[in-house]
């Protein structure tokens, strides 16, 4: 099993600049600057089939192709390292181990896009990742992989780190751009999309850490090789899966994209904890609808997971055992989203607290017969909110209504939570 992002020999410590270079680091950048045109780089990424690792799974090469090349003024690349979705911690693991790969990936991306100034937007709590990046940027600059006229190619790049003031909404790409500009982190109206009018009104690409970290391998080994790393012919590349919940090994694993859910849990996760049996899981970060035993064989790739009624999201898998109350789990997640709503649009600002209120009522045994339908109506309405936070927040609630309606109704008919004592 080939790993290109994580190095098993290095868990828990940061790769030095020298170690990264010794293992072939920055060769991809040399290759690109030495003989590939920016278009060639972009084409390789399109051919690789790489899809965004930040949650939406948008084809990366396609996103890049939206950037108009003829507008006056600068273009920007922003690396999204806000990572605040519950259950997701892959970017942190990656950056604590190998910040250099991100820098190389960003340099390649900037070359492809004609960007001369890029930013890494780092979650407030990620002190170690930010420190690693700072050191790595210093080293890369010293070695001539950043700065002006990189490797004599005429291509220049300034890379800056911005540490977020913190909040989940800052991860939404347009809110992130606002935050970076120093204004309130509300999402922006789309269109115009950032690719056309983003940071300071200029064309801007926002990509996730993991997405960008895959670029060096695509350039170094070619898109066909990279695509072939996946577990199925439809999937492309590897994916970081970060695991939490009632399994033995709660770690971040780099696995072929398309590995079936059951194989991940029984394999690297080491199966359920003693005494636990699998009840359900969140397959791709807190905003994705639940999977149950019936989804055991689903290939963990974007399209198959979507076909099965959920989303691959960020690849953050949270596993629940037989003793988990799904109403309580959903309430917990909904509280997070209600707190993190930016307050801009009506359905999310007013609707999420109301859902929290309703779920609390049900969990306390005070629910009424009409509550499931009211929940259903809100799930519908929240899909048409201003940004993707609210639809995301509806993932668990939608899953609860679809897969665990009996358990929900049991709370109401019994007048108490069936999992209490």
């Amino acid at each position: 099993m080939t790993q290109i992002l994580l190095r098993q020999d290095h868990t828990g410590q940061c790769l030095s600049f020298g170690q990264y270079c010794d293992a072939g680091g920055f060769e991809a950048l040399r290759t690109a600057l030495g003989g590939m045109s920016p278009n060639d780089v972009q084409q390789a990424v399109i051919d690789s089939g790489l899809r965004g690792r930040g949650g939406a799974g948008f084809p990366t090469g396609k996103k890049w192709s939206f950037v108009p090349r003829n507008l006056p003024g600068p273009r920007y690349l922003i690396c999204n390292c806000d990572e605040m979705e519950p259950g997701t911690y892959k970017d942190r693991v990656l950056l604590e181990q190998n910040p250099h790969i991100l820098i190389e990936g960003m340099a390649l991306t900037c070359y492809a896009l004609g960007v001369e100034h890029a930013f890494i937007f780092v979650r407030r709590g990620y002190e170690q990742a930010a420190a690693n990046l700072r050191t790595a940027i210093g080293a890369a600059k010293q070695a001539g992989f950043l700065g002006s006229d990189i490797l004599g190619s005429g291509f220049s790049l300034q890379l800056d780190i911005h540490q977020s003031a913190g909040r989940y909404i800052c991860g939404e790409e347009t809110a992130l751009i606002n935050a970076l500009e120093g204004i309130r982190a509300n999402p922006r109206v789309k269109p115009p999309f950032p690719a056309v009018k983003g940071l300071w009104g200029q064309p801007t690409v926002v990509n996730n850490v993991e997405t960008l970290a895959n670029i060096p391998a695509i350039i170094a080994h070619g898109p066909t090789w990279w695509k072939g790393l996946a577990a199925t012919p439809e999937a492309a590349g590897t994916k970081l899966f970060c695991i939490s919940g009632h399994v033995r090994n709660t770690e971040c694993f780099e696995l072929p994209l398309g590995t079936p859910l059951g194989k991940i849990i029984d394999g690297p996760c080491g199966g359920m904890r003693p005494g636990s049996t699998f009840k359900a899981c969140i397959p791709g970060g807190a905003s994705t609808p639940y999977f149950t035993r019936e989804h055991w064989g689903v290939a963990m790739d974007f399209d198959p997971v979507a076909k099965a009624g959920s989303r691959l999201g960020t690849g953050g898998i949270i596993v629940f055992d037989q003793n988990t109350c799904m109403v309580a789990a959903t309430l917990n997640l909904t509280r997070f989203y209600a707190r993190e709503s930016c307050g801009w649009c009506t359905p999310c600002r007013e609707g999420l607290p109301f859902l929290v209120h309703t779920l609390e009522k049900i969990e306390q045994g005070l629910g009424t017969e009409s509550d499931p339908d009211i929940l259903r109506e809100h799930v519908h309405a929240l899909n048409y909110a201003f940004c993707a936070l609210a639809p995301g927040a509806m993932g668990p609630v939608e899953g609860l209504l679809r897969l665990f309606e009996d358990e929900l109704r049991e709370h109401i008919t019994k007048g108490r939570c069936p999992f209490g004592d």
Binding site: N186, V189, P347, R349, E350, F354, Y384
Partner: protein, 822 residues
């Protein structure tokens, strides 16, 4: 044009329209709450959701989604109705629903939509908010419990007013609109936020509990403060003007008003209004009848004959000014004038010499159509705030370059990329001449310039104005001057703005000619987005000029005052002017008026001038009469009475008419008849009638015949150890009339002197300290205001206030040299 289908109707709409625009254009109503056509797309409330077939029936906001060819849209499917009801239910979740005591009831979007969508019970229940209501300022009440977070208030304050007083704070359900650090509101108090708030969160305090919205009768008219000529809707009940009513479709400014326009209406029904004619008997003014008053005045005017003189305020109507002139002709006098005789000189002398017409070859609409604005004095924002909004929008939305030449910084200097060149007070004409010099020397002039009459003389005269020579004298650098000249000349379109008025004696005919020279030199005349806009102070200043109410053959205002003192003027009739406060050199004016044989004053109030009169006549305000006002850009607008006359008040039109009749003449019967005469005699007004003016007036054409004029510069002997005092307008005031508007007086109740931090700390003066300002004319006590915008050595004082009239120490020079003490 784009073709699309809305609710099964084939329609077309312009390319950049949103679904909401397209529907509206075709008579299809989509409900909105957070959208405002004046503001940038927002899309937060989700009231305007519609379904688009091409998007698989997804519900998308109509207000932010651009249309595309062939779109098939449904605006009222059962699903959508359900979604909208849901939005309303959610908004009502925490809303206090205190409509019975809410001033917004009847005019509230939330109330109306709730009614329309028949949301008669709420299936959801949750806790209500308990935000503290902000009563900390006298004009705007902020009750965040009623807020629906449409953001319009914060957006308008940022996007149009460019003040940024309000912003979102906290998040999720705790989100609210607040000022920085939750401080009380302290802003320009233009009330734009109040006007756009769809609910009762932001309310005009002066109107609180005055009337239910539906009990008001609305009358459209024109603001009577400044020369911008904003359209205004007055809300009337029981013959009282109780408020101004926002109408987003009104005028070029789309219902936007400034503090005085929106909150300064109280003078109309003020308790202090004069209501009966008064005559001086045994030294005191006692009530009399109109018959007696007219009799006495007519007799006095008749005996005085050619030694009668008249001063009028350019706040009265064109028709009244014409009739006033006729009255003077009836007694055989041509001694009439306004605005101290100098405040209109830029037009009546400057533009007449340079352009052959006493009007501006530009309109306010050009502000947003130009590429570069050259603004003389940052005061332009204070004198004409709604033109200021146009400048804000031009700079922020249209990327118009803003260059300011001023003796201090100001609000305009803070706009994005604004360049402010601060010159030594009183040296602006020299700087402008230097700009002309650069344009000529650097061959930046238009090809036609050399053939314009006067070119050779100008070129010769400019020899003394090399950038280096001028820079040294004006406190600028030669590079700055060259850059500004180049930017102006090279801009495809460029517009010059400058305010004139009583507090700007330096903005005279020479300044006007100097500026006209720039426009003529570079061919920036007679084209869209080009020209020079002379922004006269009062609501009908341009009208007073157009009606010719200034001295041509007779005495001008200065000579009239001198004549009063010397006895050559026997009878003086003052209509609406308040020279005792507003003309420079208070002592001289007061002595002259004291001296004159017979003084008649027609006014709304017992002003300082009226108090000296032998006969005082109670005149009507603009809200009680009919006529026309002409704005700075020559928009001729029809004003109509909103209320019946107060007490025994008569309009100036009636007063002058009665006097003419008494004196044996035949006055015009109605303002409409007079306007007919105006339209057949005043250049540019041809073809106009009350009917053709409509609600927003018609532009009187301005045709120019350019020639170059050599402007005189002022010689400024600076006095060592003294500070340079310049006067001007305060943002909340206009002339002396706004002293009777409660709104402006709440916010800015008294005169003050503004000084730099450096000067303040040198003299150990703290904010609000009383300081004594002394000139060669005398001294007055004023509150100190310390500000970042003042350059060291320069003081600023507004001129509006009776009690602290700065004219006690100023004598009409552009700069007054003063000393400060505590």
């Amino acid at each position: 044009m784009v073709n699309l289908t809305i609710d099964d109707k084939q329609v077309t709409a312009p390319k950049n329209a949103t679904i909401y625009d397209a529907a509206k254009l075709n008579g299809i109503k989509i409900p909105i709450l957070c959208h405002d056509s004046k503001l940038k797309p927002f899309g937060a409330c989700r009231m305007c959701l519609v379904e688009v077939e091409q998007m698989k029936g997804r519900q998308i906001p109509a207000c932010t989604t651009p249309i595309t060819e062939g779109m098939i849209i449904r605006t009222a499917t059962p699903d959508i109705i359900k979604a909208r009801k849901m939005v309303l239910e959610l908004l009502l979740l925490n809303h206090p629903i205190d409509c019975p005591v809410c001033d917004k009831a009847g005019d509230c979007d939330l109330q109306n939509l709730t009614y329309e969508y028949e949301v008669n019970a709420n299936r959801f229940a949750d806790a209500k908010f308990n935000h503290v209501i902000d009563y900390n300022n006298p004009l705007i009440e902020r009750d965040m419990n009623r807020c629906v977070l449409c953001g319009k208030c914060a957006r308008i304050c940022d996007e149009i007013v460019s003040f940024g007083a309000l912003t979102f704070m906290d998040r999720g359900i705790e989100t609210k609109i607040a000022c920085e650090f939750e401080a009380p509101l302290n802003c320009e108090f233009c009330g734009s936020c109040v006007s756009v708030c769809p609910v009762g969160s932001l309310l005009a305090r002066p109107f609180k509990f005055k009337a239910r919205f539906w009990a008001l009768t609305n009358q459209k008219t024109v603001c009577s403060y400044c020369g911008t000529g904003c359209n205004l809707t007055l809300g009337v009940k029981d013959n009282k003007v109780l408020t101004t009513v926002y109408d987003e479709n009104q005028g070029f400014h789309k219902g936007q008003l400034c503090c005085r326009g929106r909150f300064g209406y109280q003078f109309i029904n003020s308790e202090r209004r004069l209501t009966t004619p008064l005559v001086r008997k045994n030294g005191t003014l006692v009530e009399t009848t109109w018959d007696e008053a007219i009799e006495v005045i007519a007799a006095k005017m008749k005996t005085a004959g050619a030694s009668t003189a008249a001063l009028a305020t350019p706040r009265i109507t064109n028709e009244e000014l014409i009739l006033f002139k006729e009255l003077m002709e009836t007694v055989g006098s041509n001694n009439y004038d306004h605005s101290a005789g100098y405040a209109h000189a830029a037009l009546t002398k400057g533009f007449v010499q340079s352009l052959g017409v006493a009007a501006s070859p530009a309109s306010i609409l050009d502000v947003q159509k130009t590429d570069l604005l050259l603004v003389i004095k940052t005061d332009t924002y204070e004198t004409h705030p709604v033109v200021g909004f146009e400048i804000n929008m031009a700079v922020k939305n249209k990327e118009v370059k803003l260059n300011i030449l001023s003796d201090k910084r100001g609000k305009l200097s803070k706009l994005p990329n604004a360049k402010t060149l601060i010159h030594v007070p009183g040296t602006e004409i020299a700087v402008i001449n230097a700009l002309a010099k650069v344009i000529v020397d650097e061959k930046l002039a238009d090809g036609t310039a050399a053939s314009v009459p006067g070119f050779a003389e100008l070129e010769k005269a400019l020899a003394a104005f090399t950038p280096d020579a001028v820079a040294a004298q004006c406190g600028l650098t030669a590079a700055d001057i060259k850059q500004l000249a180049t930017d102006y000349a090279k801009a495809e379109k460029a517009l010059i703005l400058f305010p004139v008025g009583l507090p700007y004696p330096g903005h005279n005919e020479d300044l006007a000619s100097a500026l006209a020279n720039l426009a003529i030199l570079t061919g920036k005349l007679g084209k869209e987005g080009c020209g020079v806009l002379c922004m006269a102070e009062k609501n009908n200043s341009q009208g007073a000029v157009d009606m010719g109410f200034y001295s041509t053959a007779g005495m001008d205002a200065g000579k009239i005052i001198d004549g009063c003192a010397s006895g050559s003027v026997k009878t003086l009739f003052i209509a609406g002017e308040n020279p005792v406060v507003s003309y420079p050199d208070h002592t001289k004016i007061a002595a002259a008026l004291d001296k004159v044989d017979f003084l008649v004053v027609a006014d709304l109030f017992m002003t300082e001038t009226a108090a000296m009169a032998d006969v005082v006549l109670p005149a009507c305000s603009f809200a009680e009469k009919e006529g026309t006002f002409t704005s700075v850009d020559r928009r001729v607008q029809h004003i109509k009475p909103a209320i019946r006359k107060i007490g025994q008040c008569r309009s100036d039109f009636e007063i002058f008419g009665a006097l003419i009749t008494k004196l044996g003449g035949k006055p015009s019967a109605t303002p409409a008849k007079t306007f007919e005469a105006i339209s057949s005699s005043v250049a540019g007004y041809a073809g106009m009638s009350y009917a053709s003016l409509g609600e927003t007036g018609a532009y009187a054409a301005v045709s120019v015949k350019p020639s170059f004029v050599v402007p005189k510069t002022m010689s400024l002997a600076s006095e060592s150890g003294k500070l340079a005092l310049v006067t001007g307008s305060a943002l909340y005031h206009s002339g002396t009339m706004s002293q009777y508007g409660e709104g402006p007086m709440y916010v800015c109740p008294e005169g003050y002197v503004e000084l730099s931090r450096n000067d303040a700390s040198k003299m150990k003066i703290a904010e609000n300290d009383l300081v004594i300002v002394t000139s060669s004319k005398g001294s007055i006590k004023l509150k100190a205001k310390i500000s970042m915008r003042m350059p060291q050595g320069v003081l600023f004082a507004p001129y509006h206030f009776s009690e602290t009239s700065i004219n006690r120490i100023c004598s009409g020079a552009p700069v007054t040299w003063v000393s400060l003490s505590k």
